[in-house]
């Protein structure tokens, strides 16, 4: 038997994805297209929020959508029905999108003519938090029925997002969801995060969200 020797490797396992993500960000900077990664558990309201956002902003901003629904095409069809450029990625059974998959989505969109592209990531609070998609902003949705303890169970997701949308606030009166406990937990993980309470059914808070988005797109377009 040969003797066992040690070889230094010293490499980041996810370095390839980090590199592709940086390329995506740079490429979209050139066309002044802001990329926004929307994440949540299954059913928290990602598609509903995208539809609300389109309804409010489609006269002011040119939007595109990248959909990562696991099997069906339902989500992309709903979006396309609003006259918005949408592309459906085939993610198979994947638990998250990586920057290479997002690149394929971008290539299928008329990027030069878009102010913002929203990615509907795979419904999952774990894996999407670990894979940089190349987005300029990360946004997550937590819906009231999921409970106020989620920051304790999925700390990474809460710590990487720029905005937390607390959706389905129309359910608040029916539940023991403690909004101030939630805010405290989230801010402890991520002091810089913006928290906005919304309901995609009543429309409550949606304007606060779209105002945030418009402002961020303006800032993005002015930055070099």
């Amino acid at each position: 038997m040969d003797e066992v020797r040690l070889i230094e490797v010293k490499e980041e396992i996810l370095a390839d994805n980090v590199k592709v993500a940086a390329e995506v960000r740079e490429r979209l900077r050139k066309t002044k297209t802001m990329l926004l990664n929307l994440m949540s558990s299954p059913g928290s309201g990602k598609t509903s929020l995208i539809l609300q956002t389109i309804a409010k902003l489609k006269d002011n901003l040119r939007l595109g959508v990248i959909e990562a629904d696991i099997e069906s095409k339902v989500d992309a069809e709903k979006v396309a029905a609003q006259g918005i450029s949408a592309v459906q990625l085939r993610t198979g059974g994947f638990c998250h999108l990586d920057a290479t998959m997002v690149t394929q989505g971008i290539e299928a969109l008329p990027v030069k003519d878009l102010d913002i592209i929203i990615i509907e990531n795979v419904g999952n609070l774990v894996c999407p938090a670990e894979f940089d998609t190349g987005a300029h902003k990360n946004v997550m949705i937590l819906s009231v029925p999921e409970g106020d303890d989620k920051p304790l169970k999925y700390p990474l997701m809460f710590s990487i997002c720029d905005v937390l949308l607390v959706n389905k606030i129309d359910y608040l009166s029916l539940s023991n969801f403690d909004m101030s406990a939630l805010r405290k937990r989230v801010l402890a993980l991520n002091p810089g995060i913006t928290i906005i309470e919304v309901s995609c059914v009543t429309g409550s808070g949606i304007e606060d969200w779209t105002n945030w988005l418009k402002r961020e797109v303006d800032i993005f377009k002015q930055s070099k």
């Binding site: 003797e3 070889i7 920051p151 990474l156 710590s159 405290k184 993980l189």
Partner: protein, 116 residues
Amino acid sequence: MHELPVTESILKIVIKHAEKNNVRQVVAINLQIGKLSDLEDEWIQRYFDYLSKGTLAEGARLKIERMPIMMQCSNCSTSYETEASNLGELVCPACGGKNIALVSGREYYIKDMEVQ
């Protein structure tokens, strides 16, 4: 939950280094993975055993060192270790401040490998 793509990356990097160093056989791979990463050691090994069949790394053991979650207070700069389950309810043990940032605990790193 995403052990598969992570394992694919590990294998790719390991094979690259094995070929560069004229290795006959990779015996073990030493990884550093942050405690915040939700990877199951057992599953990474199983995927690895499957993916590495017929390669220089077939049969290699993955030795995983779990890296601690380190936080730093933005107020007084004190660093300290914590567990994932405490992250939502942190106060700085030195000054009681609540502005605390994550310093490490998200690593996905290949340190070195044992080869023949």
